[in-house]
Every structure is written in structure tokens, then in C-alpha cells.
């Protein structure tokens, strides 16, 4: 049995932010992550981030991960990688699987930063080899140095679809087309511009309707959709591709939060079902905090700030009051408000406000 003040599950930007801030206030922190390297999705990002200097603008994602992990280690955070949280045991401890054995962890507070998983899209032939999620293809290329395919259809024009398309082109693949069911590109135009300037055809108002091939993908059929996103018969067109990548959103990984009986809600703009939380990232279980994509799918910078906020609040709740803790929390909440201030974040912002309202009502 391992006893610690704070257990943080997930070492992506949210978990790292939480661990850093709690340790800075003096809490004893154990940070666990299922991957071999810390950083979550940051570790796969080879492009430079933009935004403000406070959020590492101009730095590549994997370098941000290294910076944050370095800070966490300097502050004495104990990090267990290749370690999976399996769930709750009867005595209230968390079972984590490490080096082939289960170790129970007893913690005063727990911060869940378990992230999100990619959505599937079901159509005839989608189980053929050659159909995979865009994030999986990014892991293949940017972590393992393997190209998922040579001729690719990308489905979805959010930032994941746009960025992964560009990176796979840099790695030598051809993006034969990108289809987007919405009437316009949904990701940032700065990312869209990179692939459009390179000549990638972007078909808005289109989706993939079938994958064909013997034993593997040889052809993708795309079609125009109506205003209810239903394919319009007669508009089908076949593309010779060997790979179909799905970049159709992500949904929060809520399993652990649900085991802790955290109340959940549904917010489409934030990825679907997620645990509600108050303005300090506390779930309806006062010992459990949620942050990052688990608390609503957004971006790395919002995840980092939510994690920091949860870390400060949890440390205070454990009795580690720093002099400026309250000021810091207020500043983090202000930072989150400004990160969600743009027109592109309107739906996310109103979703977050509803989530927090439900979370606050648990503490009235």
C-alpha cells in the first residue's frame, strides 16, 4: 500500500499542471500514467503551439511536455509511468497496475486527468484494416516513425484532422481528400491553409459512406450530405486510397470518475458525457477533482490551466495553504475565461458554464 497526499491520474498537460501546483504548495504527490512517456497528447505534437507566452507559444508540443515534467520532478513529484489505474478497491484505495502487479494507493485527494478517447464512425467496411483514427496514425508516425498509409482520405476538418493531415504529408503520404460533413471547415484556418495551399482537396458538406476492398482498404466512397447530415443518393464518388483516417472528435474517458460516483452530464460541444465540476474543478465527490479533456474536450492550454487550478485547490483542501493560493486560483479562473473568449469557443464556453452551474449546486 502506498500512502500519499494527492494521487494524480494522467500525466498529460492537465495532470502535469495539477501535480506541479500541488507539489509547489508542499503536498506529497504521486502522478501515474499508462504511457511510457509523460505528456499525454503533447508528446505527439511536433508543431509549434501558438497563443500567449504564458502557454508556451512558439514551443513544440513534445518540448512543452518535457518542460512540465522537468518542473514536476524538480518539485519532488513522484511519477510512475507504464502504470494503469484499474479502479476502486473495497477499502477506498485506488488499484494501480505497475510492473505486472497491483498496488493499492491511499490518497487524501485524487485528481483525475484521464483525458479523452477518439470517436468512432460506423459505416460499411469501417472494420477493414486501413481504417483507423487520426490520432492512431499520428502516434504511428510521430512516436514510432511508421507511416499508416500512402494514399489517405481524412474524415473531419477539426484541428486534429487538419494537423495530422499536414504532418502525414510532411512524412511523405498523399492526402487524397479531406471530407467534412459540416458546411465549413471546423478547425483553425491557419491549419487548414497549410494543406489547402499544398493542393489537398477539401470537400465540405461531404462524408465517407463506405470503405471497400478485399482484406484491406482499396477504395473509399464519399458522398454529399443534406442539412441533416444524411448522404444524398446519387452523389457518391469513389477514391482510390489505402487508408481512411477518422478525425471526428473525442469523448471524455469517464470510467474512473463514474466509479467514484461523480455525477455526470451530457454536453455535445465538450465531447458528450462528462463529470460535472464546480469552479474549482471539484467533482460532486469532494475528494475527487476532474480536469483537462475528461472535464470537457478542449485544448492543451485550457487543460493545463484547469489542472493547475485543481492542483492548487486540492493542496489547500489538504491543508497546504500557500500565501498566494487564493490569488493564484482567481488568476487561473480568469485565464480560463480569456482562453474561452474567442468566437470559436462560444459553444464550449456556454457548455462549461452549464457544467459548472450543475457542479456548484452540489455544494450549496
Amino acid at each position: 500500500m502506498r500512502v500519499t497526499d494527492l494521487l494524480v491520474v494522467g500525466a498529460g498537460p492537465a495532470g502535469l499542471g495539477a501535480a506541479i501546483e500541488a507539489a509547489r504548495l508542499g503536498a506529497k504527490v504521486l502522478l501515474v500514467d499508462e504511457n511510457l512517456k509523460a505528456g499525454g497528447q503533447l508528446y505527439k505534437q511536433i508543431h509549434k503551439f501558438f497563443g500567449s507566452g504564458a502557454h508556451y507559444a512558439g514551443t513544440r508540443g513534445f518540448q512543452i511536455a518535457d518542460i512540465l515534467l522537468g518542473q514536476a520532478e524538480e518539485l519532488g513529484v513522484e511519477t510512475w509511468l507504464d502504470t494503469r489505474a484499474l479502479g476502486l478497491l473495497d477499502d477506498g484505495t485506488v488499484a494501480v497496475l505497475r510492473k505486472g502487479k497491483v498496488e493499492p494507493v491511499k490518497a487524501g485527494k485524487i485528481i483525475l486527468a484521464t483525458g479523452a478517447k477518439e470517436n468512432a464512425l460506423a459505416f460499411p467496411g469501417w472494420t477493414l484494416p486501413g481504417v483507423m483514427t487520426a490520432g492512431a496514425a499520428q502516434t504511428f508516425s510521430n512516436v514510432h516513425g511508421t507511416l499508416a498509409g500512402k494514399r489517405i482520405l481524412m474524415v473531419g476538418s477539426g484541428n486534429v484532422g487538419l494537423i495530422v493531415s499536414y504532418q502525414l504529408m510532411q512524412a511523405g503520404a498523399e492526402i487524397c481528400a479531406l471530407v467534412e460533413a459540416a458546411p465549413q471547415i471546423t478547425g483553425y484556418l491557419v491549419h487548414a491553409g497549410k494543406i489547402q495551399r499544398a493542393g489537398v482537396p477539401v470537400y465540405t458538406g461531404h462524408t465517407v459512406v463506405e470503405a471497400r476492398g478485399t482484406g484491406e482498404v482499396e477504395e473509399a466512397v464519399i458522398a454529399q450530405v443534406d442539412e441533416r447530415f444524411q448522404p444524398i443518393p446519387g452523389t457518391e464518388r469513389a477514391l482510390a486510397v489505402d487508408t481512411i483516417l477518422l478525425a471526428v472528435g473525442l469523448n471524455p474517458r469517464t470510467e474512473l470518475a463514474a466509479m467514484f460516483r461523480c455525477q455526470t452530464t451530457y454536453e455535445g460541444a465538450l465531447g458528450g458525457i462528462l463529470p460535472v465540476h464546480d469552479g474549482w474543478m471539484r467533482s460532486t465527490n469532494p475528494d475527487i477533482y476532474v480536469c483537462g479533456d475528461l472535464a470537457g474536450v478542449e485544448e492543451a492550454n485550457t487543460a493545463l490551466e484547469e489542472g493547475r487550478l485543481a492542483g492548487v485547490h486540492a493542496a489547500c483542501a489538504l491543508g497546504y495553504h500557500g500565501e498566494q493560493a487564493q490569488e493564484k486560483m482567481n488568476a487561473l479562473r480568469e485565464s480560463l475565461r480569456s482562453l474561452r473568449g474567442g468566437a470559436h469557443a462560444l459553444r464550449r464556453l456556454s457548455g462549461k458554464e452549464r457544467v459548472i452551474e450543475k457542479g456548484e449546486s452540489a455544494y450549496v
Binding site: 484499474l86 478497491l89 497496475l97 497491483v102 460506423a122 460499411p124 469501417w126 472494420t127 455526470t264 454536453e267
Partner: protein, 92 residues
């Protein structure tokens, strides 16, 4: 497979038609569809099909964003060797 069948749970090879049939028989939650069809009982424990089934329930008008619920997670939430849970016989 005749080329038009759509798999929803690839681990347990449950199709969209199987899910719709379960709904017609009165399964109106992700959990009850799982018990009727095995969708979500495979190696990945519903990581892919869980949300697809939520979408089917909502598109059929059975559930709405206000009422939809995910499946209840079970211990362990990710696959692990049985031996890892047994203490390995080293006296611990």
C-alpha cells in the same frame, strides 16, 4: 457480411441491425443493449461502441442529451492479467 452491414461493436461483432433489434425489443439504455447483444463486453470494454450506441439511442428518439447515460464501468477498467490481482504468492 453482404457489404452493407455496419458493425457497431467490433470486439463482439455486433451490427447496427442487432442494436436496432434490441431497441425494438425494449432495450432503451446502453447497459440493457449490452446485456442483450454483448456490445461492449469485449476486449476494449465499450471504448469504441459505447458512444456509437449512445448516438443510435439519441437518433432513434429513445434518449436525449438530457437523459442519455453511459454504461457502468466495472473493475478492472482496463484489461490486466489475473495474476496481477492475486498477489503473486509472495506473501504480500
Amino acid at each position: 457480411m453482404d457489404g452493407t452491414e455496419i458493425y457497431i461493436c467490433r470486439c463482439e461483432e455486433v451490427t447496427r441491425a442487432d442494436v436496432l433489434q434490441a431497441i425494438a425489443q425494449g432495450c432503451h439504455t446502453v447497459a440493457s443493449i449490452k446485456r442483450a447483444t454483448r456490445a461492449g463486453m469485449g476486449a476494449c470494454q465499450g471504448r469504441m461502441c459505447g458512444r456509437l450506441i449512445q448516438q443510435i439511442l439519441m437518433s432513434q428518439g429513445i434518449q436525449s442529451p438530457e437523459t442519455i447515460e453511459g454504461d457502468k464501468p466495472r473493475f478492472p477498467i482496463v484489461p490486466c492479467e489475473t495474476g496481477a490481482l492475486g498477489g503473486g504468492g509472495d506473501g504480500e
